[in-house]
């Protein structure tokens, strides 16, 4: 065969800056992924429902999925900073090349970002489907929530309509909240259960959750509703079914 071959281009990894970037990429991805996911997950605290546990998982997964991108940008940026930097009032010489584009780089970037985007969408759609299905659970207990400036009150419709300003829920039982407002917009947010739905005057909106841990959690209004929005908050008590029955009877309801 002919011995004339076009000389192979040197491997891209032969250049110093590419090697540096590759190394930094791995390091930064690991740091960013680990720190960003751990710190955020830690800040969210212990979940009190499957819904919240899924949200925490999502934060972790999305962070790790995004960290190679962030890591690459950081690595390339760091590599450029590590090269000789010119200070002063006159510019350095022009760069050694006139490269204006790279079809390979652009298309790779596009394809990868599209894949990541699709991944996020599909994940979100699946979780959303599950959350929507939970709203249709016929076995769930129903609680009507009314927000008004600046206090929440609850009607336990499945327990004879007992009304209270305290929210007690039996553990491991799905509950659907039917939320409305008497005046302006409020937002019904049980923090540790990861659910939220606005309270709109003139409409009833719904959200549902299954609390899976006994404890005391926080209900905080999440939509500015006037003067004492900051104080429109309440403790939510998740108790055993027996304790719930005792409590609801003390409120004039039926177990």
């Amino acid at each position: 065969m002919s011995e004339v071959e076009t000389p192979k281009r040197p491997s891209i990894l032969k250049s110093k800056d590419v090697r540096m970037t590759a190394i930094l990429w791995v390091i930064f991805t690991a740091i960013i992924g680990f720190v960003a996911s751990t710190v955020q997950v830690r800040a969210m605290g212990a979940p009190a429902s499957e819904t919240m546990a899924t949200t925490i998982k999502m934060m972790r997964v999305f962070t790790w999925a995004a960290s190679p991108v962030a890591g690459l940008v950081a690595a390339m940026a760091a590599t450029t900073l590590l090269a000789k930097r010119h200070y002063g009032d006159t510019p350095p010489e022009d760069a050694d090349h006139e490269i204006r584009s790279s079809a390979k780089a652009s298309s790779t970037w596009l394809v990868v970002s599209a894949i990541l985007c699709l991944f996020a969408v599909i994940w979100g759609m699946i979780v959303l489907q599950n959350d929507n299905a939970a709203l249709l659970n016929a076995k769930a207990m129903n609680v009507n929530v009314t927000g008004q400036q600046w206090v929440w009150n609850f009607d336990y419709v499945d327990n004879g309509g007992a009304r209270s300003q305290d929210l007690y829920l039996p553990v491991d039982r799905p509950v659907v909240f039917h939320v409305t407002s008497k005046d302006v917009l409020h937002s019904f947010w049980i923090v540790q259960m990861g659910i939220k739905i606005d309270a709109n005057p003139g409409y009833v909106t719904e959200t549902s959750v299954t609390p899976n841990k006994i404890g005391i959690y926080d209900l905080r209004c999440a939509e500015l509703c006037g003067l004492y929005h900051a104080y429109m908050q309440k403790k939510v008590h998740v108790v055993s079914q027996a304790d719930y029955d005792t409590w609801i009877q003390s409120q004039g309801g039926k177990a």
């Binding site: 008004q148 206090v151 009150n153 008497k182 005046d183 209900l219 003067l227 908050q233 309440k234």
Partner: protein
Amino acid sequence: MNKRFFAALGTVILGAAVIAGIGTYVASAKNDSRVLAATPAGTMVTPQGTLPHYTLDMSSYPDSMAGSHGKDGGVHPDWVTYGDYTNFKVPAHSVITITIKQYDSGARITNDFFATVHGTIDGTATLNGKSITTVDPQAVGHTFTLHGLADANSQLFVSVPLPSLPDSAVPDSGYSKTPNVVTFSFITGGAGEYVWNCEYPCGDGTTARFGGPMSTQGYMSGNFTVANA
């Protein structure tokens, strides 16, 4: 170099001073910074055991001439107001008994929820000596409603309606000799910062009538601190 550094530092300090000045001015526009501490009154037996007992007295007036806003009622003599104090401090883990003398007329309360007694020891209050759990929503003067943050400690929510005096009983000047006297008791949990306000909005300037005195501390709202002894 030195001169430039000090010049820049000077701007920073001057800027900070301007901002501090604005802040002090804005923050000081409180109408009443005095705080009334609850008066000790022995102990009381409650469903939660025997607890120290404290009392607070206040009144709700149809205007601001009562004196705590200054001579001639201050800047807004025609505004309804609570008095004599509007900021209160009570101890934690105690029973607080509040007595309110209600001198004002009233009308139909906007939100019926607040025509009912909430959060008191047995869900009742005393009106002129009689025990009540709700008042006629058509004849409410004011309410006393406590709001708090969902903080680590237990959280209070107390709301008591204060019925109105009939229009004929409110004199043109001075106050009625027979106000409605409402008394109620509740148990404080752990320490926390609360606000209280009147939940029957009747101030003008806005369609929901939360303007005017309703949204001004020192008139129809104030601070309520539960402090560790």
